[in-house]
Amino acid sequence: MSYGLLLCIISIGLVVTMGLMRVVNLAHGAFAAIGGYLAVGLLTPLGVPLGLAILLAVAAVAAFSIAVERLLYVHLYGASELDQVLLTVGINFIVVAGLTVAFGPNVLPSRLPPSLAGSVDLGIRAFETYRLVVLAVGVIVIGGLWLVFERTSFGARLRAAVDNRTMAQAVGIDVPRLFSIAFALGSALAALGGALGAPLLPLEPLYPFKYLILVLVIVALSGFGNVRATLFVAIFVGIVDTAARYFLPESGAFTLYVLLIVLIVWRPDGLLAPRSAR
């Protein structure tokens, strides 16, 4: 479950990016990786407490992503898919190289502070404390996001721009600025997922490529822009994954992939979209 929620946190950011800017962003995982590495690889060993480290890492990534957006992504709006794939893969390469140079090629071990390691007995069975923490944070973040999207004017403007960019601009919404903010938000969420999830999704330089497929498929199944659907899909993924590990432990991620592929071929516009007329 926490696996699903983690993926959800990372994916929601991508949903905003891809839905809003219609850009194939294969580099989304790179921001998650940077966030994770900053928090767990840099700040924590320096003695910064985990919570603070995560917050700082997220803020840093958000700031960094705005620069990247203004410099690079801005050229991708309306570009061909091939261009988008190539540019974001290029960013991935650079990030992977940078992380390897900075932190070495091996998996980064993440040690949990003693207060969070271990497990808590909730009566039914014992759960690892950290997984509960992730679950809690996940729920808060998603709840918070939901509030922002559904209840604030920013959220309303964002949804309007996702729905119909030209109309939103005609109505006076500053779409480019909105994009930058949304991109920063998306990347920050990715960083949060990467940092928070480090014990569960181990950090290694190839992180951006490793979870790329899973995150993309989640975003695809949720229809590329539908924030609510992402939540639903991510929970679904979490359940399927947990069930697969339980009932078919040998298959690993395989069952999940097969299921997801079948689903995306069956419903290319997303699980919740109605069948389009031809």
Binding site: M18, V24, L72, H75, A79, E81, L82, D83, V85, L86, L87, V89, G90, I91, N92, F93, I94, V96, A97, G98, T100, V101, P105, F209, L212, I213, L216, V217, A220, F224, E250, S251, G252, A253, F254, Y257, V258, L260, I261, I264, V265, P268, D269
Partner: protein, 327 residues
């Protein structure tokens, strides 16, 4: 623009600089006999990139899972070899056929999709095959791969030397033959139709074209070609490992193609040596700097030089030509 003629009228004609590449490839054999092994890998990847060019450059099908075709060819080749069938040429043909059949089976289902959903599906299929191969240790050897591919002498005459002379010329011949075939296909009415599908698939339907059928055929050809490349990889390395099915391989092929220039057939043949050269030499310097270089190159290409190296070359030639014309 005086003198400009519709490309399709001339595509079958040999262009003046074309033989240069092939002559260089043959010359390499004599000039660098100690470096034939790495060059053979380059030729294999060039063939892989060529097959991807048919798919992306001509048919407009952006697949990020082309390594599956490569990997199927590689594993089938290794498996039939280990089972006792050691004749190299038929081994390669059989492996190519296996990849082609895979494409014929999967194509009609996935080629209905376009754009983003299609990219997703290709990524997903790649992931499925990789994971499946990873798990099926009894078949693929899992992490350890399948070593021990041994070949009968080529055509009963040429033995396989350790220095890789036979391997290099063998792969070069395959590349030549398949390149020639690709050239014919691209210059044919089918090739023009593929370009039409790339430019405007909806309109192709409305001129009565069997779009899905054309795409499946193109995909099958590209897949078979990639499968042959995979088989050649298995034969010349005497080994097949999981990376033949990996996302990395798919992306490597794409990067090589883009470096050279998409849609020109020679793109992959130029991009592969450049890519592996950069990788090889940058690695001496620092194992990871090559990724910086390639990443930077990709960004540069997207922003400034869409046609890759061949595109740059073309604009240089044009500028020189204009310079002469002004005199």
């Amino acid at each position: 623009m005086t003198g400009a003629v519709s490309p399709f009228l001339l595509r079958h004609r040999l262009r003046p600089l074309e033989p240069v590449w092939w002559l260089l490839a043959i010359a390499y054999f004599f000039v660098f006999p100690e470096y034939l092994a790495v060059a053979t890998s380059v030729l294999v990847m060039a063939l892989f990139a060529l097959s991807l060019d048919l798919l992306i450059g001509f048919a407009g099908v952006l697949s990020l899972g082309h390594a599956v075709s490569f990997g199927i060819g590689a594993y089938v080749c290794a498996l039939i070899n280990l089972a006792g069938w050691r004749e190299p040429i038929t081994g390669v043909l059989a492996s190519g056929a296996a990849s082609g059949l895979f494409a014929l089976a999967v194509g009609p289902l996935i080629l209905r999709l376009r754009g983003l959903p299609f990219i997703m599906v290709t990524l997903g299929i790649g992931a499925i095959f990789y994971e499946a191969a990873n798990k099926a240790v009894w078949l693929t050897g899992g992490d350890n791969g399948l070593p021990g591919v041994t070949l009968d002498p080529l055509l009963g005459l040429f033995r396989w030397s350790i220095l890789g002379q036979t391997s290099y010329l063998y792969v070069l011949c395959w590349l030549l033959v398949l390149f020639y075939l690709a050239r014919r296909i691209v210059a044919s009415p089918f090739g023009v139709a593929l370009q039409g599908i790339r430019e405007n698939p909806g309109r192709m339907l409305l001129i009565g074209a069997p779009v899905l059928r054309h795409l499946v055929v193109a995909y099958a050809i590209a897949s078979a070609m990639a499968g042959i490349a995979g088989a050649l990889s298995a034969q010349t390395n005497a080994f097949v490992g999981l990376e033949v099915l990996s996302l990395t391989t798919s992306i490597d092929g794409l990067v090589m193609l883009v470096l050279g220039g998409i849609g020109r057939l020679y793109g992959g043949l130029i991009g592969a040596p450049v890519y592996m050269f950069v990788q090889h030499f940058a690695q001496q310097w620092n194992p990871y700097y090559w990724m910086f270089l390639i990443g930077g190159l990709l960004i540069f290409i997207v922003r400034f030089s869409r046609g890759g190296l061949l595109g740059l070359f073309d604009s240089l030639v044009r500028r020189v030509g204009q310079g002469h014309g002004d005199r």
